[in-house]
Structure formats: structure tokens, C-alpha cells
């Protein structure tokens, strides 16, 4: 019947409308919320009078707060893109056969998922948080180099587009082909299938031109990240306000400083390494060929960047735990100085562990042993942090707000991620577990378990400062709980599968792993639903959330923890509401 679905949809809508009316007549008011916040509009116009209006403001801004928001929005878009790929991978793995997509598509999925999440989600989001809050925390007027700051950000969108051109090219090709236009280049750009590590010789032999674009995109993102890092370092060193000496720099600024230092040494090396690969692919050089430096050279260079990169995104997450956890424990951070030392120690040691990714490549056993020792040693400063976080909570006045739930959950999942990593650092165990799902489970316990979770915590903790509104706290707690539950279900299953010998990077697998794979997929879908709830909460609360009038949202004055960024926020609120006499709600 023509329009069958449409008629059903219309009937469905009418049914819901009638049902709602019926419930209202029965006095059930839960569906109609008279106090559902404020509708958007009628801004006071006090805060941003000096700035350009509309789109132009965002394109031309050099204000650290605006650039911070741009970073955060960009990171969120990348996260949703990379997250979609994660969901697709987990869909493919629901059945033992590669029956949803081809194995080649699956290869493309894990490659682009890794690249998107590490380069375009994790790093930019922390840079966004840093951009917004570091100057406030340090009582600085702005970042040290505002224009370089803007340039650093604006290199990222083209970098993402270059790195991920396969999918947009596909989509554009589809649209154009429906109207009869055919552009050949759009058909040849496929997502790369090399893995995010781009190991030679596969990445050199692959004919897909998208690999070249990816290398250029990575190079561009490396420049952007380095510029941002230089800016952070100079800001912390030279732009601190009068009352902020080295003795009272806050813990998040310390971690951003350390991270930036690591970026400074790691990312330029990646830039050089990818340029050499580009030359190998296109100009006949032999940097990574057997006749030249050999494929193992790529692994050394890549992991000399790659392992510090892990700490580049890990350190800010620990800084956020150290910032947020004490606030909701009603106590000062236990052992502040030792947390700073451990952060610096991790920053230095992170450059001495790279070859633990290469234990199975046949490198000299003496070299392997030294890297094993440093890899085991780096667990010590991490453990110092965990000990101090637990001590901070001990006997504290714990308040289970959404950011606190996520912080506590982060400590828990990080312990699992960290301890499984210590096992991997031991050469004999690594020889067995290398390239299995165990490794994927291990690092996702950290990447999802503390890094992404602390981003969420930070978004909840500082949301009032950024938007001037409050979010739905009940929904936030639900989202926190879903994410914390989803992580061990998903990645714990991977640990078990890996321990049982299931290799990573395969679209199909033996049937005896089907149940565990399905459990992992369900866990991943739970995390995915959580992410959508977060997005809804952020967007909807920005539109209609109740306005914040009292800057002490978290009762921090009571415990003497009303830190500089909140004091700044209080001044802003005073200014705003003094200007309109406190009469404007919206």
C-alpha cells in the first residue's frame, strides 16, 4: 500500500499526543514540566559586546576561552565519528564470521578508529580544557600567544579532513553519482587498512592514495599540537598572575605543563618520520626498506613518538582526577608535591619505554631487558598517584556528584588498566600476549577508563563556568554509572579473550569466542548509549538548563576549595547580574 509507513507514523504520533493528554487529565504531571528550565533567547549581551557576532566571532577569535570551546566541539565531533567506528566494529564482531562487512572494511575501521580517537579526539579535548582553564587557573590574561593559539586550532580541521578523506569522498561520490556526475578520484580514496601504527613495509606497499593524505594529515596535526604545547609551556612559565608563584601552581596546570613538554619532544619526531614514509612511498627513498634503514626503523621512530603520546593524553586525565577528586572529598589533595614529582617522572620515563611495543620483533635481548625495566619502573609514579588519590578520599566527606562518580570510577578502571600493563611489560608474558585482544583490553581500560571518563567528569564539573547554566544532574549520574559499568564489561571481556589467545585485528574468529565477543559488544553499546545521553544533556542544558546565579555550585567555599577559576566565574556573575539588576532570567 502506498504510504503505508506514513499512515502508521501519523497514527503513532496522534496516539502519543492523545495518550499524553489522557495522562494530563488524570493529573500525571511528570510529562509536563512547568519548571523545565528557561527557554533560550534574550541574552543579556553584556559579556561579549566587544567580539564579532555570530559565525565571524568563531572564525576570527583569539580569546583562549573561545578557542578552548572550538577545541572541545572539534574533539566531540571526532569522538562521535571514531565512536561510530567502534560501534561498527562491535557490530561486526557479534558473529564469528565476517558477515556484516568484508574483512577489508573491518581493517579500515580499526585503523581510522585509532587515528581519529588518539589524534583528533583525545589530544584536542585536553588542549581545549587547558585552553579554557589554564589562564583562569594561573590568573593570566590569556594564553601567551593568542594568534598562534588560533592557528594551532585551525590546522586541525583540515588535518582531520586529510586523514579521514576516505569516508567524505565516498559520501560525496555517492551524492554526485545519483545526479550523474562521476569523479574518478572519489572512487580511489579508501580508508587505509594499515592499522593506526602504519607499520612498514605494508604502509609503503599499499597503493591506496589515501595513505598519503593520512600522512599529510598527521603531519599537520603534529604541527598544530606542537604549537599548542609551546603556548602552554610559555603561558605557565611566563604568564602567571602576580599571586601565582611556582609554589602554588595548581595540579592541572602542572600536568598540562608536563604533557606539553612531552609533546615538544615527541610530535616533531612523528612529523619527520611520516615525511620519510611519504618520501618512501612517492619518491623512491629507502628509509624503511630492507635495503635502507629497514622496517624496524619505522617501529623505533613511531613508538618513540607513540608511547609518549599515550602519556600525553594520560597525564592531563590524572591532573583532572587530582583536581576534581579532592573537591568532592572535602579534603586537600594528599601529597600534592609527590603527585607533581610523579607527573614529571612519568614525563621523563615515557621516553624510555618505547621498545616494549617491539619485544617480539627480534631486537637484541639486552635492549629488550632494559626497556622491560623502565616499563616496570614507570608503574611506580602511576601507583604513587593512585595511592594519593585513595588517601585523599580516606576519611573524607564524599559527595557522589557525577564528576565525583566518574573520578572514583576512573581510579578503579585505571588500576585494572595499569596492572594489566605491568604484566605486559614483562618480556615472557608479552611474547605470549603480544597482538592479542589482551593488549586492546589493557589500553582501553586506560584510554576509556580514565582518559575519556575524566573528560566527561571535567565537562560536568566545569559546565556551569562554560555555559552559565546547570545540567540535569540525575541524568549525568546515570550516564556516569552506565559508562563505568560498560568499561569492564567491554574491555574485561577483551582481557579474557586475549588471555585465551584470541588475536586482535581479525574480523572473524573461532566460534568458542562468540559469547565473550557478544558480551563485549553489549558493553560497548552501553557506553555508546551513555555517550548519547551525555551529548543530549550538554546540548539541551545549554539551551534550557537553569541559569547559575551562585558561583559556588559545588559548595567549595565551605571546605576552602573555591579555586581561582570559580572566583573568576563569581566575578563574571556579579558583573552580569549587576548590569541588569538581576532581573533578566535569560
Amino acid at each position: 500500500m502506498i504510504g503505508g509507513g506514513v499512515v502508521l507514523a501519523v497514527l503513532g504520533v496522534l496516539l502519543v499526543a492523545l495518550g499524553t493528554q489522557f495522562l494530563r487529565t488524570k493529573g500525571w504531571s511528570a510529562l509536563a514540566r512547568p519548571d523545565g528550565g528557561y527557554l533560550p533567547g534574550g541574552e543579556t549581551g553584556v559579556q561579549h559586546e566587544e567580539k564579532q557576532a555570530g559565525l565571524l566571532r568563531w572564525l576570527t577569535t583569539v580569546d583562549h576561552k573561545d578557542i578552548g570551546i572550538l577545541y572541545l566541539v572539534f574533539g566531540t565531533v571526532a569522538a562521535l565519528w571514531g565512536g561510530t567506528e567502534a560501534m561498527m566494529m562491535r557490530t561486526e564482531l557479534l558473529t564469528p564470521q565476517a558477515d556484516v562487512w568484508t574483512a577489508a572494511t573491518y581493517n579500515g575501521l580499526f585503523t581510522t578508529h585509532g587515528i581519529t580517537m588518539l589524534f583528533f579526539f583525545a589530544t584536542p579535548v585536553f588542549f581545549g580544557i587547558g585552553n579554557y582553564f589554564l589562564p583562569l587557573l594561573l590568573d593570566a590574561d590569556d594564553m601567551a600567544f593568542p594568534r598562534i593559539n588560533a592557528i594551532g586550532f585551525w590546522m586541525l580541521p583540515p588535518a582531520l579532513l586529510l586523514a579521514r578523506a576516505g569516508l567524505p569522498a565516498d559520501a560525496l561520490g555517492k551524492i554526485l553519482s545519483t545526479v550523474g556526475i562521476h569523479i574518478p578520484i572519489l572512487d580511489v580514496l579508501h580508508p587505509p587498512e594499515t592499522g593506526w601504527t602504519l607499520y612498514a613495509p605494508l604502509s609503503i606497499q599499499t597503493t591506496n592514495p589515501q595513505v598519503d593524505l593520512l600522512l599529510l594529515g598527521l603531519h599537520l596535526s603534529g604541527i598544530a599540537t606542537t604549537l599548542g604545547a609551546i603556548n602552554f609551556i610559555v603561558t605557565v612559565v611566563a604568564e602567571r598572575g602576580e599571586g601565582v608563584g611556582w609554589d602554588n601552581v595548581d595540579i592541572f596546570s602542572w600536568t598540562m605543563l608536563s604533557t606539553s613538554g612531552v609533546v615538544l619532544f615527541a610530535f616533531p619526531l612523528l612529523g619527520s618520520a611520516v615525511i620519510m614514509m611519504l618520501l618512501d612511498r612517492n619518491f623512491g627513498t629507502t628509509f624503511y626498506l630492507v635495503e635502507g634503514g629497514g622496517p624496524i626503523l619505522w617501529q623505533h621512530l613511531f613508538w618513540f613518538f607513540g608511547h609518549p603520546e599515550v602519556y600525553i593524553i594520560f597525564l592531563p586525565a590524572t591532573g583532572l582526577v587530582s583536581t576534581i577528586l579532592p573537591k568532592f572529598s572535602g579534603r586537600r589533595l594528599f601529597g600534592f608535591r609527590f603527585i607533581v614529582y610523579s607527573t614529571l617522572a612519568i614525563g621523563v620515563l615515557s621516553f624510555g619505554v618505547w621498545a616494549h611495543h617491539m619485544f617480539t620483533t627480534g631486537i637484541d635481548p639486552r635492549v629488550r631487558a632494559s626497556f622491560m625495566f623502565v616499563s616496570l619502573a614507570i608503574a611506580v609514579p602511576s601507583a604513587v598517584k593512585v595511592f594519593n588519590w585513595l588517601s585523599t578520599m580516606y576519611d573524607g566527606r564524599i559527595r557522589l556528584t557525577a564528576p565525583m562518580i566518574l573520578s572514583v570510577g576512573s581510579v578503579g578502571t585505571f588500576i585494572i588498566g595499569g596492572v594489566t600493563g605491568v604484566f605486559l611489560a614483562a618480556i615472557p608474558i608479552d611474547l605470549i600476549y603480544h597482538d592479542t585482544q589482551y593488549v586492546v583490553g589493557h589500553f582501553h581500560f586506560i584510554i576509556m577508563g580514565i582518559i575519556a571518563m575524566m573528560m566527561l567528569a571535567a565537562s560536568y564539573y566545569w559546565y556551569p563556568i562554560i555555559t552559565g547554566r546547570m545540567y540535569d544532574q540525575r541524568l549525568a549520574r546515570l550516564q556516569a554509572a552506565l559508562t563505568i559499568a560498560g568499561v569492564p564489561v567491554t574491555f574485561g571481556s577483551m582481557l579474557v579473550m586475549g588471555a585465551l589467545g584470541l588475536p586482535r585485528r581479525y574480523a572473524d574468529y573461532p566460534t568458542q569466542f562468540a559469547t565473550l565477543q557478544q558480551v563485549a559488544s553489549v558493553g560497548a553499546f552501553v557506553i555508546g548509549v551513555g555517550a548519547l545521553l551525555w551529548l543530549w544533556n550538554m546540548v539541551q542544558s545549554y539551551r534550557v538548563g537553569p541559569r547559575v546565579r551562585d558561583a559556588d555550585v559545588w559548595n567549595l567555599k565551605e571546605s576552602g576549595q573555591f579555586t581561582r577559576e570559580w572566583q573568576w566565574f563569581e566575578e563574571q556573575l556579579d558583573e552580569r547580574y549587576a548590569a541588569d539588576g538581576g532581573e533578566t532570567d535569560d
Partner: protein, 136 residues
């Protein structure tokens, strides 16, 4: 602005969002399912994807917004029209997913249901928020 015009403006923006999500679904599915085919089944014109897409766009730009204006104040989660739009589109999305499903089965069904619903929820949000914003 007249509320019919506001609704159509919302419909245009919503359709762009809906189209974007469905295009992503189509592209990401790598030929494992055809969104045009789903739309054709939903509209009851199977085998005629071009006609189906044209009808679907017209429906999303004018048809659904008109219905939304008619039933808006009876929908739950007011007074915010965006929240109401999400409820409105969720109902349409459920019917779309069920009627348009055809022979889609196995693991890809999860992705199909998730993405098609997400596309509709985003459509409803865009429709409602633009409709509400233009009221000022």
C-alpha cells in the same frame, strides 16, 4: 514569523540533519544495506528509490512539520519545542525502522536500528529547536 513558516524552516534544517545521518549510515554500511531502499519500503513504493527519496524529502520538509504544528501542544516534555520534537520524531523513527526494515537481519540490524533512530531523533531536535527559536 507565522508558525507554519517556522515549521517549514525547521523542516528544512531537520531534513538536512536527517539526510546527513542517513547518508552516513548508507556510506558506513558499505553496500550492506541501501537507505534509499529502506525509504522506498517505508513509503510503500518499493523498487522506486528515486521517487521514494523525492517523496521522503517533501514529507520531511513539509509533511512532518505540518503534523508537528498540529499536535505540538499535545506532546509531552513541553514547553520546549525541541524536546517535543524529539518525542514526535521518535514515534516516526520507530515506524520508519520497522516498516522500512525489509530483509535486513543479523548483526547489521543493530547498526541500522541505532542509526536510523538517531537520525530521526536529531531530525526532531532540529525541527523543534529551529521552530522554537524563530518564535522569538
Amino acid at each position: 514569523m507565522h508558525r507554519a513558516l517556522r515549521a517549514v524552516a525547521g523542516g528544512v534544517v531537520g531534513t538536512l540533519v536527517l539526510g546527513f545521518f542517513l547518508l552516513v549510515l548508507d556510506t558506513q554500511a558499505r553496500g550492506a544495506l541501501s537507505v534509499a531502499g529502506v525509504v522506498a519500503r517505508f513509503l510503500g513504493v518499493p523498487g522506486r528509490p528515486v521517487l521514494a527519496v523525492a517523496l521522503f524529502v517533501a514529507l520531511a520538509v513539509v509533511g512532518w512539520p505540518a503534523l508537528f504544528v498540529a499536535v505540538e501542544e499535545y506532546l509531552p516534555f513541553g514547553p520546549d519545542p525541541a524536546a517535543r520534537g524529539v518525542v514526535f520524531a521518535a514515534v516516526i523513527g520507530i515506524v520508519f525502522v520497522v516498516v522500512g526494515r525489509g530483509a535486513i537481519s543479523g548483526p547489521i540490524l543493530v547498526l541500522y536500528v541505532g542509526f536510523a533512530m538517531l537520525a530521526h531523533l536529531a531530525y526532531g531536535f532540529a525541527l523543534g529547536s529551529v521552530y522554537g527559536r524563530l518564535a522569538r
